[in-house]
Every structure is written in structure tokens, then in C-alpha cells.
């Protein structure tokens, strides 16, 4: 099982999964990736939804830590937060290695000779 720290981490990862579960939000993020950063107005030019909707999606992505932003005059420019994605990849790796350890223990027990089970 995860340690307390990892439980906290997984909660944060959930926000990422939830953010990416919405197809339009995924497209917003892809658009940012393709453009190498963009304002809400620029994203709205590429996608069939209003700028207002884009702003909402960017808000969710921001709370999930998937984008970073900075002010640029009157605009806000958003970029993909690549480290965050690597973070999620590492989280999945950790779950995989937990299974690896559990199955290794199962194997060790199963292969013990003279075990009555």
C-alpha cells in the first residue's frame, strides 16, 4: 500500500486524470503543446468552442498543475507544464513497481518447498 505521502500524491494525480478525462480539455492541452504556449484567445481560434469555455478549461488544467502561465501585457500566456506530466508517468511507474514487489513475494511463498498451503 502507498505510504501517507504517496496517498497525498495520488490525490494530486487524480486531479490530473480528471482534468485530462474531458476530451475538449485534452484538446486545449494539445493545442498549447502544438503552439508551444498560447493565450486563451489563440487556443479558441483552433478549437470549436468559445474563448469563455477555453478560459474555464485552462482554469481546471491550472488547478491540476498541468499548465503554467504568465502575464503578457493584458493577456495571459499558458504553457504545458511538462514536469507535471513526467510526475504522473512516475506515479504510474511506482504503482507498477508495487505490483512487481507483491508478485515477487507471491512467487517466493509459492516456491517454498515444504510449505503446507
Amino acid at each position: 500500500m502507498p505510504s501517507k505521502h504517496e496517498v497525498g500524491t495520488s490525490r494530486r494525480q487524480e486531479a490530473v486524470f480528471a482534468a485530462l478525462a474531458d476530451p475538449m480539455r485534452s484538446r486545449v492541452l494539445q493545442t498549447l503543446a502544438t503552439r508551444g504556449g498560447a493565450t486563451a484567445t489563440e487556443v479558441a481560434m483552433d478549437l470549436p468552442v468559445t474563448r469563455q469555455a477555453i478560459v474555464k478549461h485552462l482554469g481546471v488544467l491550472d488547478r491540476a498543475g498541468l499548465v503554467t502561465w504568465r502575464k503578457e501585457g493584458r493577456d495571459v500566456r499558458y504553457e504545458v507544464h511538462v514536469d507535471r506530466l513526467r510526475d504522473v508517468a512516475r506515479w504510474l511507474d511506482r504503482i507498477a513497481s508495487q505490483w512487481e514487489r507483491r508478485l515477487a513475494r507471491l512467487k517466493a511463498i509459492a516456491e517454498q518447498t515444504g510449505d503446507p498451503s
Binding site: M1, P2, S3, K4, V7, S10, R11, Q13, E14, A15, F17, A18, A19, L20, A21, D22, P23, M24, R25, S26, R27, L29, Q30, A33, V60, R63, A64, V80, V82, L85, R86, A89, L92, I95, A96, W99, E100, R102, L103, A104, R105, L106, K107, A108, I109, A110, E111, S117
Partner: protein, 146 residues
């Protein structure tokens, strides 16, 4: 990067023995749920794994095909919660016999379905695994080249 984690191992023991270790509470406590396990081994049956320092983690049995398949929904990240589609993943054990040995494969899937409880009422109809996958794969590719 996909929504499924898979791991496979070859165990030099008969499939019936591995099945018992995988499904009997007293054995599960030896390799996984160190402070005890309950498992009602039939579809819809309750499952609980305990670790003294973390609490009780619950699940619900989906498929039981002795000695080849056991699958269950599992709330692996929050204690004391009954499983539903938005707080649990699907864990599937598949056992195959090969010349006196047993190949055990575990798949854990459904991370994309996990909903952040802090986000309130997410628009569930808009949530699609395909959307998540597409987005994630594109971004994983982006992360690699960046």
C-alpha cells in the same frame, strides 16, 4: 503511456497452489495485505485488505473463474471507501499453466476514470476514456521530445 499497468511473472508451482495463495485470505495476508484480508469469492462479493498503518482498503469482486481469472474493483488510494466507478481501478489476475509452472499476470486499469473528489460535480457525461487516452498519448509524446 496508457491507462493500464501490467506485470507478469512465472512461478514454479502448480496453478492450483498459486490460485489458493491469490484468493485465500490467510495467504493474501502473507504476500499483500499484511494485517488481514477478507474476500467473498463470488461476483459482487466484498473484499477488504488491511494494513495497520494505513487502514482498510475495499473492493468488490467482479469475476471468479477458478483457477484462471480473478478480477475486482479496488479503491487503492483511500481507506474505508466502498468502490464505485469513479474511485476505483479494476485489478485482474490471469493465471496460465505452462509445464508445471504458472504464469501470473496482473493488469490494473481505469486510472482515467478516477475523479478528483475536490473538483465537485464534474461533468461526467463529458468524461471519456478515449479523450483521456488521446490527450495523454499526445502529451506523453510531447514530453519525450521536449
Amino acid at each position: 503511456m496508457t491507462d493500464t499497468i501490467t506485470h507478469e511473472i512465472t512461478i514454479h508451482a502448480l496453478i492450483e497452489r498459486v490460485w489458493d495463495l491469490l484468493t485465500q485470505p490467510e495467504h493474501i495476508a502473507r504476500w499483500y495485505a499484511f494485517d488481514g484480508a477478507d474476500i467473498d469469492l463470488r461476483p459482487g462479493g466484498r473484499l477488504a485488505f488491511r494494513w495497520r498503518e494505513h487502514g482498510e482498503y475495499r473492493g468488490r469482486v467482479e469475476r471468479v473463474e477458478k483457477p484462471h481469472t480473478l478480477s475486482f474493483r479496488f479503491v487503492g488510494h483511500v481507506p474505508d471507501q466502498d468502490p464505485n466507478l469513479h474511485n476505483s481501478t479494476l485489478v485482474t489476475f490471469t493465471l496460465r499453466e505452462r509445464g508445471g509452472s504458472t504464469i501470473v499476470r496482473v493488469d490494473e486499469s481505469g486510472f482515467a476514470g478516477l475523479i478528483d473528489p475536490t473538483e465537485g460535480t464534474a461533468n461526467k457525461s463529458a468524461i471519456s476514456l478515449e479523450g483521456w487516452r488521446g490527450g495523454f498519448e499526445a502529451l506523453a509524446a510531447y514530453a519525450v521530445q521536449a
